[in-house]
Every structure is written in C-alpha cells, then in structure tokens.
C-alpha cells in the first residue's frame, strides 16, 4: 500500500475550493494556445463565475463521472494545472483523462508527466479501472511524448478531426491497460 497516493516526485494532486480553481481556469484559459491544446471546442473566454458554477455542480454527485484534481508543485506549493477523469464509464471500467498545465513557462519540465503517473496509479489501484484513455491533437507533440513516457500506447488516428486556422489536423487515440501499467511498475 502506498501512503503517498497523491504525492509524486515534482507535484501533488490536490483539491481546491471552487472559487480558487475557477479563477485559475479563467486565467489559464486566456492563453488561446493552452485552450487549443486542451480541447476541440472554439476557444472561449469563460468567466471565473461560469467555471465556478460548473465546479459546484460536480460537488453534488456521489458516484461521479468526473473527478477533478488540481496540480500543485511540491516546491513552493504553486497551483499550476489540473488533471481529471472526465467521463468514467463504471461498467466498462474505462475512463478518459484530461490534463492541462496552465503556466506555459513550466511546460516541458516533467510536471504533467509526474501528475499523469499519479493519476494512473489512482485510477488503477483506487478506482479499479481496467483501462485509461485519452485523445490528443496531432499538433501537440509535447503532450504525445509525455503520454508515451507514462506508458500510453497509440491506438489510432481520427483523420481530419479538427479545423484550426483553416487547416485540418488528426486526433490521436491513446490508451493504457491495467496489464500494461502492471508491466511498467514491475520494472
């Protein structure tokens, strides 16, 4: 049994009051590059108020389909991002995972990878998931590399899925099975 389920090498997974998380989401979201890496919706300047409303709605469910954590650096406890199981399918024991590091000057330094490794352990050993899935756009090689390092395998490529600046890009599917993860843990 691990006593540090939520503590990694560089970051810890935490939970914030909706007000704090909502303000962070609204701040990060003003970087359109961040928003376009995160999701296929049109970039939108949502208010902190709107984020707060959504976060408060999540607090009401008992067997949640979504589980959100904040990511805080161990060094200085700075709030730098979020990671979430969004869409847990309890009968298929499969969930999609989403992650965003909202501070661009901290990109490429291993914080996201560390957080994702914690999330995999949480998903497999605490939620008893059978697999964890994600999608990532072909224009996000830094994300793809990080997911590969965590043990995600490429499962396919959805052609011409997203239209940005007049150009179409593919969306990649990646997945990791509990058995893949067990293999990595043994090493």
């Amino acid at each position: 049994m691990s006593t540090t389920l939520f503590q990694g090498r560089l970051v810890r997974l935490s939970s914030e009051n909706p007000q704090i998380m909502a303000e962070a989401f609204s701040r990060w979201n003003q970087n359109s590059g961040y928003a376009r890496l995160l999701d296929s919706d049109p970039a939108h300047l949502w208010s902190a108020n709107k984020f707060k409303e959504w976060l408060e709605k999540d607090l009401e469910s008992t067997l949640p389909a979504n589980l959100l954590f904040s990511i805080r650096m161990l060094d200085g406890d700075k709030l730098i991002g979020f990671i979430a199981f969004d869409g847990i399918n309890w009968t298929d024991r499969d969930s999609y995972v989403a992650i965003g590091i909202g501070e661009p000057d901290l990109w490429g330094r291993g914080f996201g990878t560390d957080a994702m490794r914690l999330m995999l352990r949480y998903g497999f050993t605490e939620l008893n998931l059978h697999r964890i899935s994600l999608t990532v756009y072909a224009y996000n090689p830094r994300g793809i590399r990080s997911y590969e390092k965590c043990g995600f395998k490429h499962e396919g490529r959805i052609r011409e899925f997203i239209l940005r600046d007049g150009r179409r890009y593919d969306m990649l599917h990646m997945g990791i099975l509990r058995s893949d993860w067990d293999q990595l843990e043994k090493k």
Partner: protein
C-alpha cells in the same frame, strides 16, 4: 440534385419522426434484446412502454436544448411499421464532425438490407443537410454485421481502443471507423 427530392425516402426504409403513442411498446420489446444495448441505453435493461415513452421525450428535449443531436425512426416503406432507430450525435458543427449509430430492432428484420438502405439516407443527411466534413461510428469489435455494413459504405478503421467495452463476461475492443466527405462524394 433536385431540392424537392425527399431526403427521407429510401428503397426499403424511410426516416421518420417519433410517434409517442405507437412507438414505445415496440421499442420496449427491443429493450429485452441485449444486442441492442448500444442503440438504446448503453447497458441492457428491459424497460416498460411508459419508461420508453419518457426516455424518448427526454431525447427530444435534449435535441431541442443542445442542437447537436438528431434522432430518427426507421420505418419499412411497404407497411410503415417501425423497424429501427438511428441517431447522429456528438455533432460538432464548428469542426464538421459527428457520430452515427443505428440499429434494426427485430432479429427477423436484420440481414435484409434495411440497415444499409437507412445508412445511405443517414449519410446523405449528414453530408448534404448537416454539411459535416466527417462521420464516425464506434462499434464493438464483436459486432461484425455492423462493421461489414459500414465498410461497404466506405468507412475505414481509424482506431482500435483495446478492451474498452465489458459485456457478457469479457472485455472487447471498440473500433472507431471514419468516413470523410471526400470519399463519400467519390462513391456517389
């Protein structure tokens, strides 16, 4: 193409609206067949006609509110009886994408060309009316008749999500097949 041609009339099948009086007992009968779980609710679960009626009302409400979902009943051209259901969902107009699902309810109506005929109508609707750029289907890898049907219509396998579905005591891969508008236009 003549703008007054019906988008809803096929050779064997017509696409129609829900009939809240007559359809629920038929759909309720189908909920007893676990093969249709992906078309109906996700998990196999027998429903009463009244439960189905409410489910269908919720679907129509969702269509009205979200505007990213289209729902169809499939009816036999010869006697107009309800033979199946279809929907185009997760429509993202901004990127021109959507996902399609359809099912024929009674085992005796399967393998008779109704599905393929309905699929052709739905593709025309998705590309010519919704103006989508691409369409996806997400069948379980064990659903061979459906996979063969969509491959005949031009869909190609794009992703295989390993062991992403659990039913009947085993894990099954889930396929993502896609059809691009350019390929559909060439096949016409």
């Amino acid at each position: 193409m003549d703008i007054t041609n019906s988008m809803y009339e096929g050779r064997l099948v017509r696409l129609g609206p829900l009939d809240h009086e007559k359809d629920p007992p038929v759909v309720a009968r189908w909920t007893h067949d676990p093969l249709l779980r992906s078309v109906l609710a996700g998990v196999a679960r027998p429903l009463s006609p009244e439960a189905v009626r409410r489910l269908l009302e919720r679907v129509e409400k969702q269509i009205e509110e979200t505007k990213n979902l289209f729902h169809f009943t499939l009816r036999a051209c010869d006697d107009n009886r309800l033979i199946g259901l279809a929907r185009i969902f997760w429509i993202d107009f901004h990127n021109g994408t959507g996902v399609l699902n359809l099912g024929v309810g009674d085992a005796s109506d399967r393998r008779r060309g109704y599905g393929s005929d309905a699929l052709n109508l739905l593709l025309r609707f998705a590309f010519n009316e919704l103006n989508l750029h691409r369409l996806s289907v997400w069948p379980g890898a064990d659903n061979l008749p459906f996979i063969q049907m969509v491959e005949k219509a031009g869909f190609e396998e794009e992703a295989r999500r390993r062991e992403a579905s659990f039913h009947d005591g085993s894990y099954w891969d889930v396929l993502h097949l896609g059809l691009l508008r350019t390929k559909w236009e060439k096949k016409l």
